[in-house]
Symmetry: C2
């Protein structure tokens, strides 16, 4: 099905051969988590080359393609052979490592090779019903993780102990893996958007930024909530409410036909008007699917036009060195007339003050 | 310190400029988890270019380098400017994406650009005392995870529930993240070396391959144990004992001066003699450090010569489609006269029969 559509696009674009090397792309087109190299030519059945170690997994999972094993030493020769047989005008590929590209280009002398990742993303960024339902479930699992944080977070806990409770709840709720490395940034560390998770102990009055997600049947979710134990200061409250307004206003602005930069601008304007513009140091959001960072992008420069079936994050933040940070993030589904929020965990001040 | 050593190597190799783009390499040379691009030239202080979002983290963590922010649009220009100023004979780099390489080569016309990852690995593969002690701790944490599996594994549990117990214990023991996605492959799925973790329920008599690791202060561990609930069949027992012997014999063969392929051959010979050679479908092991897969390699073709301070895995396996698989893996430290096992969880039949 999907591979058939890829071939239609190949025909349209004159790509007599297309080489897929990225594991999520192989999964998208074949259903197999085996990784490997998928070669789609117009004349023959697609060929999935896998390492011997992953052969049986590919046999059990991959649909719509021939399967063969490769040896590292002869892989490039095998790819070139298959491609040459198709005698393509252009050889497209999703991504090749520099060394692989240079070597393969030698073996494919006379053929034009072009990186064409966008034809894959054109398809992957529009989620079908089954994909939406898996991401919806991944979001429910992430919500369960946040519930566990709310009921266990205490003064004196270490950041990694907070992650323990969150991830345990996500696993028990059915996460087949984490969507990405959980962030627990507390106190001054909450001012680092990519704080990771360390051994710092939570103190009263800390802002605690928690960014996590789950994988369910290959599909991911992404949620951030910022908690605080005890009474927030006036400034903390002002920052929190600003970020929340930015998150909610952006959500209202998400719908089919709007550009990524327009949605980013909505959130950025709220934050700038409140006087915190310089502290919103990243983009508003990104697509989510088989990977946690995908197109389309909601950033200052993004010309991506949102379409029904896109799933994106809405995650404004304010980060002030020495004081701390606040980020509020939801995973949302783009529809014709608006957005549907898939992460449902509460985000009002009452929800996050413990 | 390390950056000083890098410059010595650059001088030796005629690399007037060296560009580091890989996050673990930036961490290794600066101590910063901020990511970014590190440019080491012979004339000036090293320059770390980070995204604005990660600036404060870099400022707090990075040592021995100048720090500046970059904009995506002007990053290549900034890199080229710094490199040109050093007027290098050769511009080395650890890794560049194909597109980045092509664009940068244009901006650096007249300079020779060469991928030189090996000069980094030369250093990174020899762990110093502090690195060994962190990996030792990461291994202790992984052992705690396996203990939790042993005490909680029951018939009827789903694979992801087993992962929940394992990861929860690792987090509580101080894991700052998982070293990689946990594998829980049970029953027929144990025959997939890269099984991932699904919702299958554990049954009596299943082989259950569990492959996991923890990160502690940036450094990783890697352990696999194969459990079975109830009485193993004669064949399961024979397979298990063969893999265990391969693991132990290889361990005895690990010492300074031995080649990767020689250690691989020890394990492979044990398995082949027992009649299972064709079912040992992967390499014996790989280096572990800031990343979970590093040089040196213990594989059929590896000419890597082991040195004191290498940390590698020893992980033979036998995988029989339809029947299941067994893998036993330790993380070990290479010493002058032998190997020290850093993962200590038991691996005799008594340890893994539940």
């Amino acid at each position: 099905m999907r591979i058939g559509k890829l071939r239609e696009v190949q025909e349209r674009e004159g790509l007599g051969a297309y080489i897929l090397t990225r594991t999520p792309n192989v999964l998208y087109y074949t259903g197999s988590t085996s990784g490997g190299i998928l070669i789609s030519t117009l004349g023959e059945e697609p060929l999935l080359l896998v390492s011997r170690m992953n052969l049986e997994m590919a046999r059990a999972e991959a649909k719509g393609c021939e399967i063969a094993t490769y040896e590292r030493k002869t892989l490039l020769r095998d790819i070139a052979e298959r491609v040459r047989r198709a005698d393509p005008k252009i050889v497209g590929f999703d991504e090749l490592r520099l060394e692989t590209f240079l070597k393969l280009r030698e073996r494919l002398e006379g053929f034009r090779m072009e990186a064409k990742p966008e034809i894959i993303w054109e398809m992957r960024r529009i989620k079908d019903e089954e994909e939406v339902s898996r991401i919806r479930k991944a979001c429910e699992i992430a919500d369960a993780g946040m519930e566990a944080v709310r009921s266990s977070l205490k003064i004196g806990m270490r950041e990694y102990e907070v992650a323990a409770e969150l991830e345990y709840a996500m696993r028990r709720a059915g996460a087949e893996s984490l969507a990405f490395e959980t962030i627990v940034g507390s106190g001054p560390r909450s001012a680092y958007p990519h704080a990771g998770c360390r051994d710092r102990r939570i103190r009263e009055g800390d802002l605690i930024v928690i960014d996590a997600g789950a994988t369910y049947r290959g599909y991911r979710s992404d949620i951030t909530r910022t908690f605080i134990i005890g009474r927030p200061s006036e400034e903390q409250r002002r920052i929190y409410e600003t970020v929340l307004e930015a998150n909610e206003r952006a959500l209202e602005g998400i719908r089919e036909g709007v550009k990524g930069r327009e949605v980013d601008a909505i959130a950025r304007e709220v934050i700038t008007k409140a006087g915190y513009g310089e502290f919103f140091t990243h983009s508003l959001g990104h697509g989510v699917g088989l990977e946690v960072h995908e197109p389309p992008s909601l950033s200052k420069e993004s010309e991506d036009i949102l379409k029904t079936g896109n799933i994106v994050t809405d995650e404004p933040g304010i980060y002030i060195t020495g004081k701390g940070g606040v980020r509020i993030e939801d995973t949302v589904l783009v529809r014709k007339d608006g957005a549907e929020r898939l992460t449902r965990f509460g985000k009002s001040l009452e929800d996050i003050i413990l």
